[in-house]
Amino acid sequence: MLIHLSRIQRLYRSDEVETTALHDIELEIAQGEFVAIMGPSGCGKSTLLNILGTIDRPTAGSYRFGGEELTKLNEAALARFRRENLGYIFQSFNLIDELTIEENIELALVYRNIPKPERRKRVAQAMDRVGIAHRARHYPSQLSGGQQQRAAIARAIVGEPRLILADEPTGNLDTENGTQVMDILQTLNDEGSTIIMVTHSPSHADLARRRVDMLDGQIVISVRNVI
């Protein structure tokens, strides 16, 4: 099993209010799975994704990745875990405006101490896979939303991560571009990538191999799709 979440809780505390974002989450995800997480706004989808991506810590519970307990790691170890194992795709693409598309994608490799020629080679391959090689020297503002999201996917896959986390990757795209993005994700999954995707779109969730429904910080349904 690649991922094992056990009794994960996430509480947000302020001076006056304590809010439970996640409550006793139990989830197992195998290597090569494509899991879609659905649910209404505020149900804890993104919080769960953040915890899976180790950019947020659970208040309680256990998160094991490839057999390693991650909740005990310090910030530096988690940063190392992220750069070696994870790829992120965001709804709003989150490309850095000051960098070219090529540089944005390369950023995922910069912190791994990979030599520059090797980085360039991998970036070229990743851009070819998502069909934006001709936009390499452009800045994000010069690209359409669909192209930006493809660039973001290239950034997520360039490091060949063990897990790709996608937070509403089609949320800001029109139908055609959304379909293209889903096609790319499906292809990546077919090639062996493990993907966890948060989405509001039932049709896109149906393209995943498993669908997890959340409500009020809890997983209420976990079903395998027939593809």
Binding site: I55, N94, L107, Y111
Partner: protein
């Protein structure tokens, strides 16, 4: 890492030239003003410090407090004290008289004015000064001996190689012929020998006839002393009252002494030569003095300019932190550790500081000659001093201007930032409003700055 920092700065300069320009200009202005005023302060503090054994050199001052008059301190003293000082205080290694005099040299029917000092033969030995030409031990032993500055030699003879040549000098209406026995090179400056063109021995008849050599109540120049140890200055000062009573007091009819109870109206003190520049603001018959609090104030203004330059950089960097929050969150999700980001941002601050430091040096190059011209002080850029100071200023400015924004930026929580990026209004984290992390940050910074200003 360095390449990445330089690329980042290059990108910022391309994409945000106004930000980079203001950042560098503000800090460069602060550093430029600081360097300029630091040079001025250093100059004012360096009077008479260039002499060998400067710590052991001092000047004798006298204090008068006669009934019905305002008490005053004077650097011009009675030379009658000198032989008694040498006799009574074993702490004194050497001592000379030092009297300013105006000299005129006639050349081709025209008089050229020179600033001269009459002193004793031991002057060069006491100040450990070596002559470009001539023997410093004997240059002032003969009554017609004359030591010229190199510039005076050039003015009078048109060349520095003038040993043995004679000069006719008109001093207080009397013409005398002097023989050049020495040429003085660059004397330690600023200090005692600034603008001194010629040094000549005290005329023998002066020692016999001039009142300041004979009477305690008459004065005509300075007594300069050299002590065996620096601490001897204070030790001698403590015993000068008894010295005055013993040596300067006499009877009411006595013309040589200052009366029956001399120490009631007359006192002597020894002032370390290094302190005379500031001390002389309270002393009569002195030139080229400065108030120490004014100089310290100028130094403080320089320091404030540097702090303001740094604050401006912190201000701009903090204001812009909001724009970089998404970048930070993204870099963290891609695996950058806090240390990596901190190093990146501190590196950028250091490079900005380096650029500003060099720009500040250019500003200093422009300002220092202007200040020297306006004030008439011989302030100039000392590159050895700058080479020591500028790296420290760059390092300090880089740390001061980069530490706070770097700590804040590298400490952003990526989950909060990415959540904020999706929300239309400022979200909350731990009771603090985020808006890409800037709202509370900016407010905190401004409130802290306001608090600092208030103090």
């Amino acid at each position: 890492m360095i390449a990445s920092i330089l690329r980042s700065i290059g990108r910022q300069a391309r994409r945000h030239p106004l930000y980079v320009g203001l950042n560098v200009f503000g800090l460069a202005l602060g550093i430029g003003v600081f360097l300029t005023l630091a040079l001025v302060v250093r100059f004012e503090y360096s009077f008479n410090t260039g002499f060998v054994d400067a710590d052991r050199l001092a000047r004798m001052d006298e204090h008068w407090s006669e009934p019905g008059t305002t008490p005053y301190e004077s650097a011009d003293v009675s030379f009658r004290a000198l032989p008694f000082l040498k006799q009574d205080f074993s702490e004194i290694e050497d001592g000379v008289t030092f009297t300013a005099t105006n000299l005129n040299v006639e050349k081709n029917g025209q008089f050229t004015h020179f600033s001269g000092r009459m002193t004793d033969p031991g002057f060069f030995r006491m100040f450990s000064l070596r002559l470009l030409q001539g023997n410093s031990d004997t240059a002032l032993t003969r009554p017609d001996g004359l030591v010229l500055s190199r510039q005076a030699a050039m003015t009078v003879f048109g060349k520095p190689d003038v040993l043995g040549k004679t000069v006719e000098i008109n001093r207080i209406g009397q013409k005398s012929t002097y023989t050049v026995t020495g040429v003085l090179g660059d004397a330690p400056s600023p200090g005692l020998l600034d603008n001194v063109d010629m040094l000549l021995p005290v005329p023998p008849q002066d020692r016999l006839q001039r009142s300041c050599f004979l009477f305690w109540a008459s004065s005509c120049g300075e007594i300069l002393l050299k002590f065996h140890k620096h601490n001897d200055i204070a030790a001698v000062n403590a015993r000068l009252s008894d010295f005055v009573q013993h040596r300067a007091s006499g009877t009411a009819e006595d013309q040589i002494s200052i009366g029956a109870d001399g120490k009631r109206v007359y006192a002597l003190s020894v002032v370390p030569l290094k302190e005379t520049h500031f001390h002389d603001s309270q002393v009569e018959d002195t030139a080229n003095s400065a108030e120490q609090y004014v100089i310290d104030g100028i130094g403080l203004i320089g320091l404030l300019a540097l702090i303001l330059g740094c604050a401006n950089t912190v201000n701009l960097a903090t204001a812009r932190a909001g724009l970089r929050a998404k970048e930070v969150a993204l870099r963290k999700t891609l695996g950058a550790s806090r240390f990596m980001l901190f190093t990146q941002f501190m590196g950028e601050a250091m490079v900005f500081s380096c650029i500003a430091g060099l720009s500040g040096l250019v500003l200093c190059e422009i300002c220092v000659p202007a200040i020297a011209s306006v004030t008439g002080e011989a302030v100039r850029i000392n590159y050895y001093f700058i080479a020591l100071l500028l790296p420290l200023v760059i390092l300090g400015s880089g740390l001061a201007s980069g530490l706070y924004p770097s700590l804040i930026l590298s400490g952003y929580n990526p989950a909060s930032i990415l959540a904020a990026a999706r929300m239309p209004a400022c979200p909350q984290e731990g009771g603090k409003q985020l808006c890409y992390g800037t709202c509370w940050l900016w407010r905190n910074f401004l409130s802290q700055s306001a608090s600092l200003s208030a103090h």
